[in-house]
């Protein structure tokens, strides 16, 4: 490892830092002004890359030269900026006052829509962009060859930082953006045209995302999946830098770029882990990142379960539902039972999340981590310890509970959006471990041969087994929600100041809630592993976390039974619609957006509201 090698690594780190900063800068600006964490920011980045990779070659055919190339890059970024305006006007404008959870889910709906539209418009193949004219030859640095385009990228970061700084310091728009970042209500009270300010900010944010994406085309081909990988990194940069802080994002991007460049040398396979560990450490020491400020208290209210009169028929209703479900094998064939088993598993998964979100007001965006830990724990126990199902399931549950205890210990100090980001990061760490530690976890292929014990084999037996476990755990969790512990969680959600003033130890209650919820999700994951006979890293991915959140949303997060209904409805819809169209994500994304905008109370909540209105 000589000096020139280190220098090249440092330069590599700087160039990826530049790209990351340009994208994350847009995310942090949008958050600062609108207080919305825009999941779709990664999608805008992807659109930027696809647009540039398609547009620039056409332009170069007309007139070949550096000017055309850079004009094409700029035009692509402007197109993405205009798409940003579209998103603001059509969607974001309607959810500025909504709870954080709804904002996150709605913008994730946009992610799903864009994923399908991108394939529809640009085709399923990766698109390789042209190399930049005039920058094709590598340069010689300390005797090693280094791509000259990377040097341009290294310069691009500070140039964008300088331009954004000028914009924020020297223009009226910039003054308004800074003012809104500090105190949004004050800006509204001063009679500033907020609609224009927000739309303008979205244009700027989307433009930067598009620019970040467009600048990538000479290095990597535009491909589906760019969106989620960049958004995870951009989240880390904005959170580590302090949400809303542009200089913070720059500093964080440089730290992360270098960490990735040199982390490869120390842990060749675990760059993702290193990055997310950095985030965990920074947030543990500085809960608001390098330059972030505490969130203003009294912003969006956590919504969740409220006290209700218990229906005198509740016990009868539970018995009836369980009875009908237990009778299903009498009429259903093997396929129906397989689907029903999966519904039960996801109902349990979603219900475990309800303890955190609906009861505790803790928006966990990485619940897939615990589901996946349960599944992997069970699968690893089968593969490496040759344990039978009866022992493997508890092993998975235990692993998930331990994971939740660890994650919970970090995040209970945080609140709101920082908690959501931190849980997301935790899930990504677990994902990275499962994905990259091939020797143990099988990497991308996962682990196969995870079959239930003989007595639980076969669709009917396994369905009944899953039904028994799900029913038992759901009833147990319902009791916990109704017990003093559940009330204490709600108390902390409703008013932290009051809860502390009556002597409640909020952090400890939340920590225990994480462990209970993680254990239940882990059990669901274990049952899932044995139902499919295999596990793979997608169980731990962001889409799995969002699945659980969507089930809560569909059913209604202010109701106890909502997640169960939501799991059933979502799963049946998916089962019916997916074979009919290749655009399932488009349908799902639009549905999520529609629910947030039109039926934020979900199915059970809306039904109940109708019922109460009639009464």
């Amino acid at each position: 490892m000589d000096l020139s090698f280190l220098a090249i690594q440092a330069l590599n780190g700087l160039s990826s830092a530049s790209s990351l900063f340009i994208t994350a800068c847009g995310l942090t600006l949008v958050f600062g002004v609108t207080r919305i964490v825009n999941f779709a920011h990664g999608s805008l980045y992807m659109i930027g890359a696809y647009t540039a990779a398609t547009l620039v070659p056409r332009l170069l055919e007309l007139s070949f030269g550096p000017v055309t190339f850079w004009a094409g890059i700029l035009a692509s970024a402007i197109i993405v900026g205009l798409i940003g305006i579209l998103i603001e006007v059509l969607l974001l404008r309607r959810i500025y006052g909504a709870p954080e959870l709804f904002q996150l889910l709605a913008t994730f709906g946009v992610v799903l829509v864009v994923q399908d539209l991108t394939i529809l418009i640009f085709g399923p193949e990766d698109i390789l962009g042209p190399r930049a004219p005039g920058l094709r030859a590598p340069v010689d640095i300390l005797g090693r060859r280094f791509p000259s385009y990377e040097l341009v990228l290294i310069a691009a970061g500070p140039i964008v930082l300088g331009l954004v700084w000028l914009l924020l310091r020297k223009t009226r728009f910039g003054v308004l953006v800074r003012a809104a970042t500090q105190d949004r209500e004050m800006i509204a009270a001063l009679g500033v045209n907020q609609a224009l300010l927000f739309t303008g900010t979205l244009f700027l944010g989307a433009f930067l995302a598009g620019l970040g994406g467009a600048l990538q085309i000479p290095r990597v081909s535009a491909h589906a999946g760019m969106d989620l990988s960049i958004i995870a990194e951009a989240f880390v940069v904005t959170v580590v830098g302090g949400m809303g802080s542009v200089p913070g994002a720059f500093l964080a991007a440089i730290v992360i770029g270098q960490l990735q460049a040199f982390g490869i040398l120390i842990f060749p396979k675990s760059t993702l882990v290193v990055v997310f560990l950095l985030m965990a450490v920074v947030l543990a020491v500085r809960p608001y990142g390098f330059f972030g400020r505490p969130e203003v208290i009294g912003g969006t209210h956590a919504v969740g379960i409220a006290s209700r009169e218990r229906s005198p028929f509740a016990v009868l209703a539970v018995l009836a539902v369980v009875g009908i479900l237990a009778a299903l094998p009498l009429i259903g064939d093997a396929y129906v039972l397989k689907v029903a088993t999966e519904i039960l598993i996801f109902a349990l998964f979603a219900f475990s999340l309800q303890l955190l979100i609906g009861v505790g007001g803790l928006v966990s965006f990485g619940h897939a981590a615990f589901f996946g830990l349960g599944a992997y724990g069970a699968a690893l126990a089968v593969k490496w310890l040759a344990l039978p199902m009866e022992a493997a399931l508890p092993t998975g549950l235990l692993l998930a509970a331990l994971g939740a205890a660890l994650v919970g210990a970090f995040v209970v100090r945080l609140s709101g959006i920082y908690l959501a980001m931190m849980t997301l990061a935790a899930a990504q760490i677990v994902f990275a471990v499962a994905f990259q530690w091939v020797d143990v976890t099988g990497g991308d292929n996962g682990i196969v041969g995870v079959w239930p014990s003989a007595w639980a084999s076969g669709p009917t037996a396994y369905y009944l087994f899953a039904l028994a476990l799900t029913t038992a755990v759901v009833l147990l969790l319902m009791r916990i929600i109704d017990a003093p512990f559940g009330y204490a969680l709600r108390a902390a959600r409703d008013s932290a100041a009051r809860a502390e003033a009556i002597g409640l130890n909020i952090r400890r209650h939340r920590w225990i809630a994480f462990i209970l919820s993680g254990a239940a999700a882990g059990l669901a994951g274990g049952i899932y592993a044995f139902s499919r006979g295999s596990v793979d890293p997608t169980l731990l991915g962001i889409p799995t976390s969002v699945d659980a959140l969507t089930m809560l949303l569909v059913g209604g997060i202010q109701t106890v039974t909502g997640p169960l209904v939501g799991a059933g409805v979502l799963h049946v819809l998916r089962d019916q619609i997916m074979p009919l169209t290749s655009l399932w994500r488009l349908v799902l994304g639009l549905s999520i957006i529609a629910i947030v905008l039109i039926f934020p109370r979900g199915i059970v909540g809306t039904l109940r509201a109708w019922q109460e209105e009639r009464a």
Binding site: G304, I305, A306, S307, R310, R479, I480, D482, A483, P484, F485, G486, Y487, A488, R490, A491, R493, D494, S495, A497, R498, A499, E500, A501, I502, G503, L504, N505, H509, I512
Partner: protein, 258 residues
Amino acid sequence: MTLLSVQHLSKSFGGVAAARDVSFTLQRGEMLAIIGPNGAGKSTVFNMVGGQLRPDGGAVLLDGRSITTASPQKRFRLGVGRTFQVAQTFLSMSVAENVQMALVSCRRESGALWSSARHRYRDEAIGLLEQVGMADAADAPCSALAYGDVKRVELAVALAGQPKLLLMDEPTAGMAARERADLMDLTASIADAKGIGILFTEHDMDVVFGHAERVIVLVRGRIIAMGSPDDIRQDPEVRRAYLGDEHALEKPKGLNPA
């Protein structure tokens, strides 16, 4: 007997000294008001007594025991109850459940996972609500109450911990004039009956001079006067501090439509 003893408290934010060498004592059953112009440091002193802020220097003693660095939770267990400037209640729960929650916490049962919380200590909670005149609304959702009633519920919640010391940060802010007098009369009678010491901040001078037994005047973080309401009203330094607002220190004229 001295209940609360505040000794040489100081606190600065950046370069601004919000509290400088603040010392006072409070007896059992006494009502002590802290007043002062905006930015005088009332809330800073208040939050250092309540545990929301940690002082740079000085000490807070409750019954002779130092609670200077204790958390709000710990202070609650030692007998410090409080109400907030903007009333803080659990809006997703019924009125009775708000008080029940405090009783559950008081008895360290908030970690119980199995038994139902619905009826736990309900009778006791109703008893406390009767004391503040809210028993009829016991089953109403807290989110459906008028603001004056929310303040009463908050008082019942604070009393659930059987406090020796009750901290009330602007107890009548946001209330109508008649409600203000009623709430403070109620508070005074409860404090008197149970021997609870009450420390409160207040902007409404009618409330201060009508209910406080002693008054502390803070200006720019420093105590400039301390004494009975009549002494304070005549104090030339206090008059200077309230210059331009001399009516503020006039005697209350019965029901003032403020």
